[in-house]
């Protein structure tokens, strides 16, 4: 039986790739081949950029209100196709169906916010900056933008940028992750029906070669990227060299600080979501839980409750609605996470729950699965306490007070997200004020900013100036033009 080969979407048409090199896209839960994805050629990238460049003048001259109507139609189409879009995400990524539906909802929210572009894109002015002279600031689009997408949120992440880019009058090219590109294919099928003209959005499959060519292309004005920190640093440097704007949202090692005044029954479900949601494969995942204080009884109760809850998580095929955690996205990811677990044991951490001992729902193959793992006695210097694992591994640490907990956070090079769990407003306020981190949660485990706020990030978690989403995105995708006028 022949396997479907995915096509690129260039200039409003689905086209076969001329590449001879293809990668496999697999269902991680059942370890089955779903389709093949082309590693597109430089010429194909060039054609997508040319189409985007050609489409730009007419699209930027389309009134914002008309561009917004296209996005309204897109939103309606996304709602109509909500379940199918979600099912595809689970099939190719492995996450649970609830998580996929959450991802779809978050993606739609981006489109909803971008439909407000006639208001969001307004500039400002001042009469009489000097006698009979007025000054205006107008926001104008720049041209072609590109996006290099990660595998962990195959549907949502490109939508952190795409709706804002095209709403502001730019054109946009997405290179999805070759590991799970089908979600973007499903999304792009809707653009034509939404009335978005050919060339305004393009989809070019591929891996590093396609990404590099986008980064080096002289006709691309800016790049957006979500992925690892080492790659993010390369992208930031390359964009600097080629004069492109850049948003590079990168890795993380997120701390969750637990004060002894917290209500554990309320906090633990949130902590489970934080550490094990999306099988730990997200830049907002909890990594290190720091229990503050010298109350040994509370510490023991926390550890017991946490480990018990983690041990009860049902792991299996994400399409099974009784399952709470899906597989890792590939067998290689599983091997990498096992490597971290072994390193943790070797460096002296205490293995409280061993996720390598599989307990799976249903008759799924073991290839990509791990159950939740919990380590105790972890220090910030250990490999597992320091590096991003990107898997279902939780580390429990202790700090004598909040200051020490904040020091531990600051000792890590990342600055993506942190959370504090407490019933003390004073401690929470001090934490949010002092901590050097982009996204702060107070009794919230996953600090995922809504579409109308920027997705922040600091230190090695973010490279750029403006962030994705919200007003930052509007500013990123537009240039300020100043007009100073006098009439004689």
């Amino acid at each position: 039986m022949s396997v479907e080969k995915l096509k690129n979407f260039i200039n409003g048409e689905w086209v076969d790739s001329e590449s001879t090199e293809y990668g496999d896209v697999r269902n991680p839960a059942w370890d089955k081949l779903l389709c093949q994805v082309p590693m597109s050629t430089k010429a194909e990238v060039d054609r997508a950029v040319q189409a985007a460049k050609n489409a730009f003048p007419e699209w930027r001259n389309t009134p914002p209100v008309a561009r917004a109507r296209c996005l309204h139609r897109l939103r309606e189409l996304l709602e109509e196709n909500f379940d199918e879009l979600s099912r595809v995400q689970t099939t190719e990524h492995g996450k649970t169906i609830d998580e996929s539906r959450g991802e779809t909802r978050r993606g739609i929210e981006m489109v909803e916010v971008a439909t407000g572009i006639p208001s969001l894109m307004q500039g400002y002015n001042l009469e009489d900056i000097a006698t009979d002279i007025d000054e205006y600031c107008i926001y104008q689009p720049l041209g072609v933008f590109g996006h290099i997408a990660p595998f962990n949120f195959p549907f949502m992440v490109p939508l952190w940028y795409l709706p804002f880019a095209i709403a502001t009058g730019n054109t946009f090219i997405v290179k999805p992750s070759p590991r799970d590109p089908m979600s973007q294919v499903e999304l792009f099928k809707l653009f034509d029906d939404a009335g978005i003209p050919p060339g305004v959005v393009s989809l070019v499959h591929g891996a590093a070669d396609v990404a590099n060519h986008l980064l080096e292309h002289p006709d691309i004005k800016g790049m957006t990227f979500v992925g690892s920190t080492p790659v993010g640093k390369i992208i930031y440097r390359k964009c600097g060299e080629t004069g492109k704007r850049v948003i590079a949202q990168c890795g993380a090692k997120n701390y969750l600080v637990i004060l002894p005044d917290v209500d554990l029954d309320s906090a633990v479900p949130s902590l489970m979501t934080s550490f094990f949601g999306n099988t730990g494969q997200r830049c907002l995942s909890g990594a290190n839980a720091v229990v503050v204080g010298e109350d040994d009884a509370f510490f023991k109760r926390f550890v017991d409750t946490f480990v018990e809850a983690a041990s009860k998580i049902r792991v299996g095929d994400g399409l099974d609605e009784s399952v709470q955690m899906g597989p890792l996205q590939t067998g290689e990811s599983k091997k990498r996470v096992i490597g971290f677990i072994e390193k943790g044991i070797e460096e002296g951490a205490k293995l409280l729950l061993d996720g390598r001992k599989l307990n799976l729902v249903g008759d799924v193959p073991e290839t990509c699965f791990l159950n939740p793992t919990v380590f105790g006695n972890v220090t910030p210097r250990m490999t597992i306490g320091r590096e991003e694992i990107f898997g279902p591994v939780a580390n429990i640490m202790r700090a004598k007070d909040l200051d020490e907990a904040i020091e531990m956070i600051h000792s890590n090079p990342y600055g993506n997200a942190v959370s504090i769990y407490t019933s003390s407003g004073k401690m929470a306020r001090r934490f949010q004020h002092d901590v050097m981190c982009g996204n702060v949660g107070i009794n919230i485990g996953i600090v995922a900013p809504m579409a109308f706020f920027p997705f922040s990030g600091m230190k090695d978690s973010f490279f750029g100036t403006l962030h994705g989403q919200g007003r930052d995105a509007i500013r990123f995708f537009t240039e300020s033009k100043i007009v100073i006028q006098r009439w004689f």
Binding site: G102, R105, S266, L284
Partner: protein, 152 residues
């Protein structure tokens, strides 16, 4: 239809709610054909059940996001406990049907109340929708009790 979901994922709870509504609607629809005295009332229940499905699903799809701790909510909710029978003797007296309906509605109301209470920490729309359906089931019980009094 077998109602054996034993899960705490939001998707499973919503699926169970849908099944509850469909199964009880089928029961009322069948009975409406057999007992003309309650035909109008039972058919209004069938219509209301359809609206309930829409209400709950709309809330779920509206708020489901990674802000909603969907995989780890509804702790302790065992939907097996809310299983109910709808099979009955075709020649059963109307009073027996009404008693059975009351028992079923009790069970369903209890399910919605528990699901609503357990999801209180989530975004407000979902627990509110679940609570609203629980209240509708309470009103329905009053209607059924009045009907039962009238046929005794």
């Amino acid at each position: 239809m077998v109602l054996i979901w034993n899960s705490i994922q939001a998707a499973a709870v919503i699926r169970f709610a849908t099944e509850v509504e469909e199964k009880s609607a089928q029961f009322y629809d069948d009975c409406a054909k057999r007992y003309s005295e309650v035909e109008e009332t039972f058919l209004s229940f069938v219509r209301e059940n359809k609206k309930n499905v829409t209400l709950v699903k709309r809330a779920y799809y509206g708020v489901i996001s990674d802000a909603l701790e969907a995989c780890f909510s509804f702790k302790g909710l065992n939907v097996d406990e809310h299983f109910f029978e709808t099979e009955c003797d075709e020649k059963a007296a109307l009073s027996d049907i009404l008693k059975m309906s009351l028992e079923m509605e009790n069970n369903i109301q209890d399910f919605y109340q528990r699901a609503s209470a357990l999801s209180e920490s989530l975004m407000a729309d979902l627990p509110r929708a679940l609570k609203k359906v629980a209240e509708k089931r309470k009103e329905r019980k009053h209607t059924l009790e009045s009907l039962l009094d009238s046929v005794r």
